[in-house]
Symmetry: C2
């Protein structure tokens, strides 16, 4: 397989030939939302490209897919129908595109040596407007970031009770809210909620949250629907149900969450917004970056969760930037997704164990990802600042300021990538800016 | 408004002229799923009926709706588009139908005195096959049944800590799973899950639940979508966002739930199936049956939850039948929805307080409804049997047997109705039969 492309790319681009993620965009060439991929600083109009290949080129590069059908699906306004075609088709399409974009294409006249076609299918990325990549049916958020779960547990229950007993045996998760999953770039209004101030005072006040937080997560998009109600997906088959991955910011209002979450879990403290990146990095693109989790739970795994391989998670470098209202940026966290202790295959096996159906486009969040190294590796401010008691420092307009939690006008940007320069597999950015509360 | 109908009806039918609920069905007259209403033992083909009215009859009975548009929407395969038209349209359509079906119709030739039209639009209910009434976007389950929350809390935490402090101040709820919301009549497979046996033993085993339970609830279907991310719906406007109500059984696996639910709430213990009735009873049909909740929380209500009326809930008589595999039925519970302590308007105001969007077709569950009078008024077996320690008696094939929790082959049927004989407003039935687990 080609690793170099004839397209001129920045060696630091997350969109090398090794990646080829998928997104939904409108462009000057096609004002209807449709599926695109990325190569360097360009998006590629896939329906047009595939639809105009010669029969021979399609047969060699993309068989056994039907050219008309594939081109039509690539014109969709969500990735759902494409995702539902299954891993074999995603793989075939990505490999066909790697041939077309590689430095020794089988059909040079199909794209590389054809200025007319290039003009019809290559669009500078800055001219594309992105849309939600998938129609999300259900959103489930897990809690598989070991160091985050331990640090937050220790903060609230003490070091010896940091992890609840069930944490060692199952991927703890809860049902989130799909109606508030939004695209990177969408403004996030500071939510209002019931808040109890001080301790020992059980009378809440209703007001804007004073503890608005981010949560750095990896999201997984479900490809095929599971067999149905009452049927499970075995862990060894679960990989076939994964379309790809996004960056995910599960914004949280810690004061609202703290008051409401017993006994039924987080509700308004979480459901006001969840931001995902526009680019879905395919499961195949991340396959070479599988690693062992950085930590093991030290108990025997229930049989239905035994995946039969040690390299269950990905070696994705993750970063969080905070940009103040004045436009000054500080990288406040650097961590890695190998700190997840459960894989998405295990999450799928657990989620369907009782027969709960998964559907194409469902979104699974990993849980907040933090490293073991303290505030600079924390995936949220609750953990980095010890619930605001030790504020972190960020740069503002020529001076250093502190943050316990997010302030109006702050922008959070998540980034993630694997691989060496020139062959990076990354997500681009997942951003959101805090807007002032609307209250009363 | 007419209260008597020219259609011959059983005085005990839940589908009197005062009701006119909506459902999705296929019939011998129209094999495509479409919208129907019910009168006595008949379903009525609404698209055909409305589409074939004279212009004058439509104008008088259904203006200002557009006849073509309304007829087209009534041919939909879900109620979503109809629901999104808003309360004024639902009310107008119901009132127009009450005229057509009432004992002094303005246009007798439109239906009553026209055998040809009657033959094209009236179908014996037994010939109709029902479908899911709405495409559910998100499903949220609240916990507003006061006596249930108190009884279960007392069981697990003792009488003095029965209600958590937040219970008095907000409608506690959690996000459920929309992919497993199913129509009445769908089989419910006994789920498998992680279960810890005995106490003080933190190693779970994976096996079929031994504590399969029902939960008697009222469900609310959202009509209009809320204004969007970051916008709230005020409690005094919330009624306009309600299309109607269904019976809802939130099946639960108590042993699975107990192990998994700390700290993020119920997950696999709840997400394997939630059953709803096919008929959506409109908000208007229940309006005459508003009453005060049977209990007050005794604290000052937060301003955003003050509804400005005391009659916030409905006087709906509710019953639960258990039918054994041999086909013998025992009514195991009789209670009333006035034991809900928060209204659906309050739930909507709370749900959107932080800016979480509601969408047409979203489903809100009330939480389990129990009365104060012990096992015979309990809305679930956890409560009726004190977690299995005091089994209830049910009738089987010529003998009395006990139930701690549900057994394979048991069928649970929920029923609910208001009003006097001849003018009943009811839901029909919401049923599900337990199928054996599929394990390993």
């Amino acid at each position: 397989m080609a690793t170099n492309t004839w397209v001129e790319i920045d060696p630091l681009t997350p969109f090398s030939l090794s990646n080829l993620p998928f997104a939904i965009a409108t462009t000057p060439l096609d004002p209807n939302p449709h599926i695109v991929t990325a190569i360097g600083a360009y998006v590629l109009e896939l329906s047009t490209l595939i639809g105009n290949l010669s029969e021979e080129a399609h047969a060699v590069l993309f068989s056994p897919t039907d050219q008309y059908h594939l081109s039509r699906i690539l014109a969709s306004d969500t990735l759902n129908d494409f995702a539902s075609l299954g891993r074999a088709v995603h793989r075939r399409v990505r490999e066909g595109l790697q041939d077309l974009l590689g430095d020794s294409p089988t059909f040079p006249e199909a794209l590389r040596d054809n200025p007319a076609v290039r003009a019809r299918v290559m669009v500078p990325m800055g001219q594309a407007q992105f849309r939600m990549p998938v129609a999300v049916g259900d959103y489930t958020d897990f809690y598989a970031g070991y160091y985050h779960a331990r640090a937050v547990g220790a903060m609230f229950r003490g070091e010896d009770k940091a992890l609840m007993p069930n944490y060692l045996h199952l991927p703890v998760g809860y049902h989130g809210r799909s109606s508030s999953v939004v695209l990177s770039g969408t403004g996030v209004r500071r939510p209002v909620g019931q808040i109890v101030e001080g301790s020992g005072n059980p009378t809440p006040v209703t007001k804007p949250t004073g503890k608005l937080d981010l949560e750095l997560e990896l999201g997984c998009i479900v490809a095929r629907s599971s067999p149905g109600l009452g049927e499970r997906v075995k862990v060894e088959e679960a990989g076939e149900y994964i379309f790809g991955y996004v960056l995910l910011n599960d914004w949280s209002a810690r004061d609202v969450q703290k008051w409401e979450y017993v006994p039924l879990g987080p509700f308004n403290g979480k459901n006001f917004a969840t931001t995902i990146s526009p680019w879905v990095v395919t499961a195949d693109a991340l396959e070479p970056y599988r690693v062992k989790p950085s930590v093991e739970l030290g108990v025997e795994t229930q049989e239905y969760l035994r995946q039969g391989r040690e390299d269950r998670v990905f070696d994705i470098q993750l970063e969080v930037d905070l940009t103040t209202a004045e436009g000054v940026t500080t990288t406040i966290s650097r961590t890695n997704s190998r700190h997840l202790v459960w894989s998405f295959e295990q999450m799928i096996a657990h989620h369907t164990l009782g027969g709960c159906p998964l559907r194409t486009g469902d979104l699974l969040g990993s849980g907040t990802i933090s490293g073991p190294g303290g505030p600079g590796e924390a995936g949220c401010l609750l953990e980095a600042t010890l619930d605001g008691s030790k504020p972190i420092e960020v740069q503002a307009d020529g001076k250093t300021v502190t943050r316990s939690y997010l302030e109006d006008g702050d922008t959070i940007t998540l980034r993630g990538f694997c691989g060496p320069e020139g062959a990076r597999v990354g997500f681009g950015e997942c951003t959101g800016r805090i807007e002032a509360a609307k209250w009363p």
